[in-house]
């Protein structure tokens, strides 16, 4: 009897969650569903109610006792708001496969409605920033390119193809939505710097996003873009095409000399 009641309640909660997702603002049921998802996917690292798990402590001394109390450590989620939750869940950065890895874009085990619920729950943990609503159409493309060059291109490359930094991989931005770019600039995921509104205003951010969206399909005046990766592929092309052509010429000359 009890299980049936629970099942009915669960179905009701799901229906409510679905309708609430369509409407604006999270419903209590959605938050509740998010809480159970939190228990399943996030709790082991982020701790009870998003309290975070502090870096491991050594418990006691002596043989066999000086081992670390905790291996799973992760930042607290109170006050990170819907902005961080939306970014990490929708990009598939979280849940993380293994602790200590750089979060990478991947297929999330969560369905979109489950993501909505989990975002609602994390937003309910404490007052935090909402999901930003950038308007790249308002941005200025040339200003965006200048700002991107100054602040982003060092790591992400000038056409946002991604690159390398010691100890981490700045990802390519080709799959990022405008909202995700706006979130990442403010959050600074993994080792990315955090840019506040003081440093890059919302208006400037619109321009940066407009440029990144443009850079997904740039106007390649020079012709063949070769992956937009700069001198390395260009050098490879020189070796693989020009060197082969030269070798072929040498062979033709050699043939003519021997047949003579």
């Amino acid at each position: 009897m009890r299980t049936r009641a629970a099942a009915i309640a669960f179905v009701a909660a799901l229906v409510c969650a679905a309708t609430a997702a369509a409407a604006s603002g999270p419903s209590p049921q959605q938050v509740q569903q998010g809480k159970s998802l939190y228990g399943r996917y996030c709790l082991s690292c982020h701790g009870m109610n998003g309290s975070g798990v502090a870096p491991s402590r050594v418990i006691g001394a002596g043989p066999g006792r000086d081992q670390e109390q905790q291996n799973a450590v992760a930042p607290p989620l109170r006050g990170v708001g819907a902005r961080a939750a939306d970014f990490y869940l929708r990009t598939g950065y979280m849940p993380l496969q293994k602790l200590g890895l750089q979060p990478r874009r991947s297929k999330s085990p969560l369905s979109p409605s489950q993501m909505d619920a989990l975002i609602a729950y994390i937003a309910s943990l404490g007052k935090g920033p909402p999901v930003p609503k950038p308007q790249p159409a308002r941005g200025n493309l040339s200003e965006g390119m200048q700002l991107f060059t100054a602040n982003c291109a060092g790591c992400h490359q000038i056409v946002a193809e991604g690159g390398y930094v010691t100890g981490a991989v700045p990802p390519p931005l080709e799959d990022d939505s405008s909202t995700q770019i706006a979130e990442a600039v403010r959050i600074g995921p993994f080792v990315m710097p955090t840019f506040s509104e003081k440093q890059i205003s919302d208006r400037q951010l619109d321009s940066i996003i407009a440029y990144v969206q443009y850079a997904k399909h740039p106007d390649d005046r020079g012709g063949w873009a070769i992956g937009h990766l700069g001198p390395v592929p260009e050098g490879l092309v020189a070796w693989f095409i020009a060197a082969v052509a030269l070798v072929a010429v040498c062979m033709v000359i050699g043939k003519r000399l021997t047949s003579h």
């Binding site: 870096p55 450590v73 992760a74 930042p75 602790l99 200590g100 100054a150 291109a153 060092g154 790591c155 690159g163 390398y164 930094v165 010691t166 100890g167 981490a168 959050i187 600074g188 995921p189 993994f190 080792v191 990315m192 710097p193 955090t194 840019f195 506040s196 003081k198 440093q199």
Partner: protein
Amino acid sequence: MARVKDLLVSAALLAAGRRRPKLHADREPIVPPGEERPGSELAVIVLLFATALFAAAFIAVYALDRLPNQTQLLGASLGLAFLCLAAALILIGKRLVVTEEIEEDYPVVEHESEQEAIAQVVADSGSRFTRRRLVKASFGVAGGVLGAALITPAASLGPFLDVEPFYATTWKRGRRLVDEKGKPWRADDIEQSTFYTAFPEGADKEALPSSVVLVRLPPHDFKLPKAIANYPAQGIVAYSKICTHAGCAISLYRAPLFQPDEPRPALVCPCHYSTFDPATGGTVLFGPAGRKLPMLPLYVDRKGYLRAAGTYDEPVGPSWWGVRMRKPKPA
């Protein structure tokens, strides 16, 4: 130094003392003597001097520096020098050296007489040359000047004697730090886990020592050596933005969001990934850089603006032979 001198002297003596064995004067020629072609020979000499001329032009264009289309002129002069040399060699091969028909492969050289025969073939093949010494001299001139042209660009590796500018800086005590538009930076503007570029107020922004990268770190993170322990101001540190390896701009800042799980904060150069630790005075964590980033001492004035408290602790820019000999001089 003395050993190098000994080596050079002995090499010169060896070269001078080496004589080729004289060929027998009354020998039978193997290669039939060809008729002389003074026209071709003259052309060869002219071409070799042209080679020397174009190679000298390369050096001149390189030294003059401020010419319009310098790159094209450099390419054209060196290309023409090689073209003339190639033409001279082709002319010698086709028109001047008397060729003999090869019927079978030369046997492996074993005997004195066979060696002599080969030397004779070489000597006989040159029968068309009438002005041997002039041809040899023009080869020497062409080769010498072309060689000089090829090593000329090495001068760009750096001045050998005039190194004073390397110690100069645009910073001195009291200079405010401004952004690229000239707005002074306040200490409150500088936030943690992000980075800023700053320049000295009223100085040339393009000068090598001008640009610095500003970051703020939690005060308890610092592990600075005593000599530079008072360089940060309120947890803000400034380092030269020019990498000490190859002089690229340090435009990457690794700023971990959650330090226990992630790599520590670092300034990274995008060219060869030299990685510097901003908490320990810019020491090298990784990469090809051979020395730490120069650090700029800072203080915050009464109005809250960031000011330089002196100049860098190390010369700015890529390393060179005297980089550890002196400290930079304030402007």
